[in-house]
Symmetry: C2
Subunit: 495 residues, 2 copies
């Protein structure tokens, strides 16, 4: 199926509507289209054209948005890089994606040049710090129509285990994702979304897609800061935002008991299962939380629990989006029974066609027409999905399976615990030993013996951590996902 | 593209949400699915199956909705018939569509049996007046998945000129129509639509599609009654409804100066251009009117002017829906200049693949990949569509083109005029003479000389009607469209 170019069509339809807010900057859709066209002209002059790839290394801001827009105007696939990558990691992704150009903002200039050189000499292109791109670059040959089968972007999956793979995200994946989003959560033409998570993640690309398709404003913050988010909800009339669970917790901590205004209609919580106590707190405060399960390979949401269903299915990631199907299968094959943990499989129009340069991994991931997510979870009898854990985090101790999220959820119920990471450490006797790294709610708020007793009271013996650390903070990805692999790798030999 | 069966998926997702209200009856999505499954079982027992057609002759009510739902469960294409058809007209459409069954409600029983017999013996099936359909009909083989290329229904176009043609409406036409609707007008999960126009029109099918895809409630009235509509907006919290211009006028007349509640967010006005004075009145009263241009062949809306743009583009039908393109072409070919009247062409995912049993007419209608609507209009420089008239209503007098809607709009500006129809009557001297039939606002409110002077003050001489009638009412189609052909045909020879 073909559609008109999304940004150009939107700029024709509602040219004067607010598209993008960043600090004091306010851009209408006409402004965004005008600047993106100018940037596209500059990129075309630098030799970029349809069917090519353009890497993009930029912090949240207009430069990122306009670069992405310029790529869609040229028909080039964007390759957004995680801004936290080391030079070596970025060079690996650049070498894999072989982009025609690497666009970067000012702060990333030095690392961008080093990574581009290390990747064999990818040309770099510094984004104009004023984001005006008006510098007489000439008109680019613009793609007025979009084929939904074309590749919109290549997004490298976080790859906490193994080497990163570039998931192909098509225009159709994003289009149908925006459509399915509306079928579960509705969409208001006066919605104002807050982007306080990295735009380079697929959830950021999905948010910008919704902005262009539905004509919604996006307010962009450089990074998540709880007080600033709360202030924006009050002052900017933010109606919807995407956060991870820890960010929601910090928002509520900073907010105290002051209710959010009625203009706030949706807080989409993704990036891993949210702790039950946090969700209970949100429900008690009347915060319109929707939990969601999604992957880069499903162009953001695959399952979502709308705010009006949250309380009745607390802890679930909801049901598969309207045009999407989810199955849970046993290790040996065959559908798991309701309540039985297995691998989560996803099918539908938002599922990636595969990975760049990885025919064999693509074939395996999409075998039988279903995306094999590698994530573990179960469906209840009504089809509500509960995500147990990432498969690579599964702990096997003495022949018993332990799902870290389950143990962490128990730890988080303890009033003295702020955050917890549970991992499996190599153990000569049991194969793996369950180990817990815990951030106390305050210095000295809790001791190991207390925590051990708390777990023993709520968990089968083999699930109770054998090894403990009290730490000041835990490592997270840029999107706020807990990096259990890092916790495991950095565990002291004598800890 | 495939999707899950819309109704079944919706009933899984939000089983307890209100789907359908009719008088005191309230059905959730689970109720609708349950009853539709029972009816599907009965239809399967009567020999109906996938790929067949099922005609449906029923007034607005649950019987219509459940019958349509049962057809989608079986994979049979519904053929909804206009309830105002004569037996002969219905028999023509039945013979053309050759359905496996003719479903009918009680009031239409006698005419249905007569038409079915006249069409060569189509079996008839009386809908249960209680709409329960629980009578042990056994389980039907249900289509769990829908191919968007499959035919959902065959809808006969009003055919005021020539013989009626059955436009094929695919699942994809309706799906993309619902998607495009949301991109222009948004969709709220708590929306409550009022269906006070006939459900058998494509706008009714589109409304039910939105209900199933987005989980919205539809309140059904048997027919349009201004006071009842106004009362439902107050008492039932109706947030959106579709009407024709005359209906909107009656609603506002009945309402007086009492404002509508804030829950009302959308009054979609279609079925032909709305008179400017009516739109000005709606704007002054703050009624959230959206004007729209659509056809059976575009699965309802093709262009829409959202409420927030109405005042700035009064009289326009808006811009083409997001994934839709509209061109206006000259008689001889080539795109018309901005402001220049020509034929309206439509392209996009909501456009019909053609007409049943009419390969040649389908080819002509869709030549070059664009639907040739036969309607006349123009685009302004910003792409806003103004519908001038139906081509078959064009009046040519003394070599000059006169568009009836233009003359009618002038007449409607006169305070003594309630409604007007302008037609061309055969004239020995000029080819056609412009003739106006006028409904005065009250008996004796206006005279012909007054009206002639009013027109002469606002129109070029050749556009001023030469022949006049003052009448008590004008003929309309079931959907409220003015039937100019009827006015012309019934004009007295000496009038």
């Amino acid at each position: 199926m073909e559609t008109p170019n999304w940004l150009l069509r939107r700029a024709e339809r509602t040219p004067d509507r607010l598209a993008l807010a960043f600090g004091p900057l306010r851009l209408t859709f006409a402004d965004v289209a005008e600047r993106a066209l100018a940037l596209a002209g500059a990129l075309a002059a630098a030799g970029t054209g349809p069917g090519e790839r353009v890497a993009l290394w930029a912090e949240n801001g207009p430069g990122f948005v306009l670069s992405l827009a310029a790529c869609t105007l040229l028909g080039a696939a964007a390759v957004p890089l995680n801004t936290r990558l080391t030079v070596e990691e970025a060079a690996f992704q650049l070498a894999d994606a072989s982009p025609r150009l690497l666009l970067h903002d000012g702060p990333l200039g030095e690392r961008a040049r080093a990574a581009a050189a290390q990747a064999g000499g990818v040309p770099t292109f510094a984004l104009d710090p004023d984001d005006a791109f008006a510098g007489g670059a000439g008109a680019a040959p613009v793609r007025a129509r979009i084929d939904l089968g074309d590749v919109h972007s290549v997004v490298y999956t976080s790859g906490t285990s193994g080497r990163p793979k570039g998931a192909l995200v098509t225009y159709g994946n994003l289009w149908h994702g925006a459509v399915a989003h509306a079928m579960t959560l509705g969409v208001r033409t006066d919605d104002r979304w807050l982007a306080c998570l990295p735009l380079f993640h697929v959830s950021g690309l999905a948010m910008l897609t919704r902005s262009w398709l539905y004509g919604l404003a996006v307010f962009v913050h450089e990074r998540f800061e709880a007080e600033r988010v709360n202030a924006a909800i009050d002052a900017d009339g933010i109606s919807a935002l995407s956060v991870v669970a820890t960010a929601l917790g910090r928002m509520l901590d900073a907010r105290g008991r002051r209710p959010y205004p009625e203009t706030l209609r949706l807080v989409l919580v993704g990036g891993g299962p949210a702790p039950l106590p946090l969700l209970e707190r949100a429900v008690a405060l009347g915060v319109p939380v929707a939990t969601t399960y999604g992957l880069t390979e499903t162009a953001s949401q695959a399952a979502t629990l709308a705010p009006d269903r949250l309380a009745a299915h607390l802890g679930s990631a909801g049901t598969a989006l309207f045009p999407t199907d989810i199955r849970v299968v046993r290790e040996g094959g065959g559908d798991a029974a309701p309540g039985e943990v297995g691998e989560i499989l996803v099918r539908g129009p938002t599922v990636t066609p595969g990975y760049l340069n990885r025919p064999e991994e693509s074939r395996r991931a999409l075998e039988g027409g279903w995306l094999h997510t590698g994530d573990l979870g179960w469906l209840d009898a009504e089809g509500y999905l509960y995500v147990a854990d990432r498969r690579e985090d599964l702990i096997v101790t003495g022949g018993e399976n332990v799902y870290p999220a389950e143990v962490e959820a128990v730890l988080l119920r303890h009033p003295g615990v702020s955050e917890a990471a549970v991992v499996g450490l190599a153990d000569p006797e049991w194969g793996q030993a369950v180990a817990a790294a815990v951030v106390p709610a305050a210095a000295g708020a809790v001791g190991v013996e207390d925590l051990r007793a708390h777990c023993a009271a709520h968990l089968a013996g083999y699930k109770v951590p054998r090894r403990w650390r009290l730490v000041e903070e835990l490592p997270h990805t840029a999107s706020g996902k807990l990096m259990r692999g890092r916790v495991r790798e950095t565990w002291p030999a004598d800890g």
